[in-house]
Subunit: 138 residues, 2 copies
DNA sequence: TCAACAGATTAGAATCATTTTAAAGAAGAA
DNA sequence: TTCTTCTTTAAAATGATTCTAATCTGTTGA
């Protein structure tokens, strides 16, 4: 497939690069996710969006895909509410505002916030990641 | 009831103060929770602990009680994993280590960590709370 | 002291997000 | 093509949490 002219070329190459077969479903979801700026979506949201874009994908595949994209580092998971997972297309070092009213996540650029003093992790452990959630209300 | 001699007097008074009837279940759970230092428990954990202490309480009551204690400010909820809620007896300003291996929470004293720069919340919103989770692995 | 009421507990059903199953379909290699 | 491997899917299963509605218990004021 020539990747210089077709509309799916970008995401096609991305999928090849991470070793995931560029199926119709993955290509469609990747376009929705990666060709619209930084996004924070739940599985249900993405499922609805896919339907609106005439992309037929089962909810099981939405979950599979989000977990696979996260697994290969194309996305990350953000936990802010019990019982619901958000998936984030922004994999750079950054943190989040969480609008408690609307249940929306919003990026805080990595340099707009900083952990002044990072405490020593307990002996025998290493820091995997630091998550800062600033919970806000309208 | 004289609150100076009986073993339940502390938690008895606490419950009265927040306007919750001191029932056998609430008294027993309050002792487990508040007479053993700062604690981070899931509903299932507390349920097992109650059983081990010969306190017969249904899981529904465990959930009711944890939510009520949280509602009146005796505890707070910490979200670190999708699909599971932790309840924290430490209501002072502090943050957490989360051991990804063991799924255990550990307090970081409020003064052992600090948010260097808190970003301006979006116009029309106010900061409700800032949560920092330092994810660690053995 | 105790009846009466409000509030609390509970077993079991319901809910909701997510995962699993296993069967049918599609992609890649040759 | 043809074969193999991976993928998708509907449907069932899972697991945490909440709800329901019946029973029970704490409180209060006669
Ligand atoms: Mn996951
Ligand atoms: Mn809750
Ligand atoms: Zn983000
Ligand atoms: Zn804590």
């Amino acid at each position: 497939m020539d990747s210089t002219v077709r509309p799916y070329s970008q995401v096609y190459d991305t999928l090849r690069k991470v070793g995931l077969r560029p199926t119709r479903q993955r290509l469609g979801l990747a376009r929705l996710l990666f060709e619209n700026g930084d996004r924070h979506v739940t599985a249900e949201q993405l499922h609805a969006e896919a339907a609106a874009a005439n992309l037929r994908v089962s909810l099981a595949t939405i979950y599979n895909t989000l977990n696979q994209f996260t697994g290969v580092g194309l996305m990350r998971e953000v936990v802010v509410e019990p019982g619901r997972s958000y998936f984030d297309t922004n994999t750079t070092d950054h943190h989040h505002f969480f609008h408690e009213d609307t249940a929306q996540l919003q990026d805080i650029p990595g340099d707009a916030i900083s952990v002044g003093k990072v405490p020593e992790p307990p002996a025998g452990t290493r820091v995997e990641r630091v998550d800062i959630i600033v919970r806000i209300r309208g």
